[in-house]
């Protein structure tokens, strides 16, 4: 599951590279100021309501980009657990909620309640990260746990004497704890607004798990988006080749004749070769 790299996690790879490239493009084209939301001048001043649609596109801050990339990278586990198709479906089906809810809540609830103090919503897909993180929290088990305590406590004294002061309490962490550090930094980086985005994201993720979002749980993106349709075709072809191989009972003929070199006889373990290798071997005169 935690295999390094993006094996079988194309959507996560797209998110990671998209985050980096988007931030790069935004800073190169000098359009970063289009992405964040400030309720008073942007909405009530300039009526730039299109900002509600674009604020999630890019992070405008290099620190946030770094931590977002770390978070997406560690969250690729969720994609492997679900399959790319469901993962992509989740992102898209929750997109209306993650995109629309934070500006709406900020504009109509938080800003009036705080008398205009909380006014700013930082750019970037923080809600998406937290929606994924809620699922990561629920679906991924920890592999080990460990304790941090100010004193070294032997296991015997631990059971007999109950610690009285707060400081003798020890904190229990799991193998998953470190994964939460990067999103936490993301949530606290631009304090009130980013926390709002994170909270909404977590709520949306939890609601998805509980099947509270209408239509989101069962809807799926078309398979070609994550490249499943084409792969299925190859699987069928491969199955046919395997079946043919079975029928021939070791003797390679027909379509497989060129593929399995007949030099050592059909009984040997055959290895599949690519077309390029076959061509080069033809030229070497081994075929």
């Amino acid at each position: 599951m935690i295999t390094s790299g993006f094996t079988n996690a194309p959507v996560s790879r797209f998110l990671v590279f998209g985050t980096v490239i988007g931030a790069l493009v935004a800073s190169l084209t000098d359009t970063r100021y289009y992405f964040h939301i400030q309720v008073v001048p942007h909405f009530w001043g300039y009526a730039q309501f299109w900002r509600v649609g674009v604020w999630q596109l890019v992070f405008t801050n290099s620190t946030e980009v770094l931590f977002a990339v770390l978070s997406f990278y560690s969250l690729r586990v969720v994609e492997r657990l679900w399959g790319s198709r469901k993962f992509a479906s989740f992102l898209i089906s929750t997109l209306p909620y993650t995109t629309l809810l934070p500006p709406l809540i900020l504009t109509f609830i938080l800003r009036p309640l705080s008398f205009g103090r909380i006014n700013h919503l930082p750019a970037g897909p923080t809600p998406i990260i937290f929606a994924l993180l809620a699922n990561y929290y629920a679906a991924i088990p920890y592999t080990y746990r460990y304790k941090l305590s100010p004193y070294s406590s032997s296991p015997t004294s631990q059971t007999t004497s109950t610690p009285t002061s707060i400081w003798s309490k020890s904190l229990t962490f799991t193998s998953k704890s470190t994964t939460y550090l990067a999103p936490l930094q993301l949530a606290l980086s631009q304090f009130p607004g980013s926390v709002l985005a994170a909270a909404v994201g977590w709520a949306v993720g939890t609601a998805y798990r509980r099947d509270l979002l209408p239509g989101a749980g069962s809807w799926r993106v078309p398979g070609w988006i994550v490249g499943e349709e084409s792969r299925k075709g190859f699987e069928g072809l491969r199955a046919r080749l395997d079946a043919e191989r079975e029928r021939e009972g070791g003797l390679s003929t027909g379509i497989l004749a060129g593929e399995t070199g007949g030099a050592h006889g059909g009984a040997r373990q055959r290895q599949r070769r690519t077309l390029g290798e076959m061509v080069t071997e033809q030229f070497r005169g081994r075929g």
């Binding site: 679900w82 088990p141 592999t143």
Partner: protein, 515 residues
């Protein structure tokens, strides 16, 4: 030496030595010795043990398979790495499958720290308030709830917890998985191994079986169809259950910690996942390797085909290891046989020595007893003789015949040696006197001087006879007491009957000797 048709010269030096040793110990003819030695493969110890104990019914040496050639056959042509070895050898290389042991739950107590609890208290409060409110709304407007939870089976939805699964120990986790599997997909005939992955792994290693690991991700879209159409299909179930395939089936839900770690160690990145793990003796004697991994949705026929293809190259090494193990077992049996034969002969020797010792002790005891008895008899005889002398001395003399007939009792005694003695006794005399006279008759008659004889010390005398009057038979016992006149009358005709005739013949013999 070559007298019995067995050509000694044909034997090797070791065999000749063995033959020499064997004949030296057993003193056998060479023509008998050579076949026995041949049956024992020229092992002198076994041969000697068999010579003395008899040959066993089932010959472990014969039962042992012929030694297997453990050298691997390498053909130069077949094993030359191709120039593009960078790809082919990496593919041929067998990936190792590590053993996974999850952290025991009781190591860390699941107690939320106080600081964290305090920090999270407001969030918990808000969350519970909102969830209660939401539930209340849902209760007020049931159609709303129905609108909000479209499609999806209730069981699947209820299992989607939002706070993770409770961690259990491996055995319980496996049981929980099987239970959930049955709830979800109905009863099935899949032989799930109901214990931890490590146990299944060890079992597969020990019994040289294939371990089929199936990792289930319930939230994956293709999982249900894979399980329904592939895993539960008749073909796959039959293939897994077939005992000739030697498959242990271990399955786990990746939302459990153990299965998650297994998925990590097996480099599983795509579900549905099935991995075949097998002992790989070509890597090392303890290595387990991944024979194949089947990822993604696979039709049942292809699934079985892939498994079969992956098992094929591993059967031969496994069989080799099996043969090696049986060979080792046979060697061990032979050694055990040797040991037991040695033990048996040792026990026999010990038994023999013990018997000999016992017999010697018994003989010594008997001798001692005989000596003691003889000494006692001697002492008794001596004492008896002395007592007789003393009693003879203290016996009152015979009253003269002129005495008044009233005071005299005439008694005719018939001695054991058929002699007839007539004596007069005083009428007032105790009957014991009569007995004493009979006892001391020999002493009195011999007329020895018995004046200085003293009563022997520590000697309780008992009369070894009784006086009986015949017709009618009356026994005058000495113990009843009384005077002669009272018991017998004026005259009597008595017979001396020996009481010790059945116990000791010596005294009679002595008497007769003296006679």
């Amino acid at each position: 030496m070559a007298d019995a048709g067995v050509d000694i010269a044909q034997l090797t030096e070791d065999q000749q030595l063995a033959l020499q040793q064997f004949t030296a110990v057993t003193d056998q003819e060479i023509k008998d010795a050579v076949p026995l030695l041949q049956r024992c493969q020229w092992n002198v110890q076994i041969a000697i043990a068999r010579f003395f104990d008899g040959e066993p019914a089932e010959d472990p040496l014969a039962a042992a398979p012929p030694p297997h050639d453990i050298r691997r056959q390498e053909t130069l042509l077949a094993n030359i790495p191709t120039p593009r070895s960078s790809t082919s050898s990496s593919r041929r290389l067998i990936e190792t499958a590590p053993r996974v042991v999850p952290q025991p739950e009781n190591h860390v107590t699941a107690q939320a720290p106080l600081i964290l609890t305090l920090l999270l208290a407001p969030f918990n409060l808000v969350y519970s308030l909102f969830s209660k409110l939401f539930r209340f709304t849902g209760w007020l407007f049931p159609p709303l709830m129905r609108l909000f939870s479209p499609g999806g089976t209730n069981t699947a939805a209820s299992r989607r917890t939002t706070s993770g699964r409770k961690a259990l120990n491996p055995r319980d986790t496996a049981a929980r998985f099987v239970r959930e599997f049955e709830e979800e997909y109905g009863p099935n005939r899949l032989p799930f191994f109901e214990n931890g992955y490590a146990q299944a792994f060890d079992l597969a290693k020990k019994n040289l079986q294939f371990l089929l690991v199936i990792l289930v991700s319930p939230e994956h879209d293709e999982m249900a169809s894979f399980i329904r159409e592939t895993l539960l299909s008749q073909e796959v179930v039959d293939f897994i259950r077939d005992p000739s395939n030697n498959i242990i089936l271990w399955a786990g839900n990746v939302q459990d910690s153990e299965a998650y770690q297994v998925s990590t160690s097996l480099n599983c990145t795509k579900f549905p996942f099935a991995g075949l793990i097998v002992h790989t003796p070509q890597v090392s004697s303890t290595a387990m390797g991944v024979a194949t991994r089947i990822v993604g949705p696979t039709p049942p026929t292809q699934f079985v085909t892939k498994l079969r293809q992956a098992m094929q190259p591993h059967l031969e090494p496994l069989n080799r290891v099996r043969a090696q193990r049986t060979e080792q077992q046979a060697t061990r049996n032979i050694r055990q046989e040797q040991d037991s034969a040695y033990e048996r002969s040792l026990a026999k020797d010990r038994e023999r020595a013990r018997k000999k010792k016992e017999e010697a002790a018994l003989a010594a005891a008997a001798e001692k007893e005989a000596l003691a008895r003889q000494r006692a008899a001697e002492l008794y005889a001596q004492n008896l003789a002395q007592w007789r002398k003393w009693r003879a001395a203290s016996l009152p003399p015979e009253p003269p015949a002129s005495t008044d007939a009233k005071d005299i009792v005439r008694i005719s005694l018939r001695m054991p040696n058929a002699e007839r003695v007539v004596r007069r006794f005083a009428a007032a005399a105790d009957i014991e006197e009569l007995y004493a006279f009979v006892e001391c008759y020999d002493v009195l008659r011999s007329g020895d001087d018995v004046g200085d004889a003293e009563e022997p010390e520590g000697f309780v005398h008992e009369y070894a006879f009784q006086l009986v009057s015949p017709m009618p038979r009356v026994v005058f016992d000495v113990k009843d007491g009384g005077t002669v006149r009272e018991r017998i009358g004026r005259s009597g005709n008595l017979i001396v009957e020996r009481l010790d005739l059945d116990s000791g013949d010596e005294e009679e013999g002595d008497d007769e000797d003296e006679e």
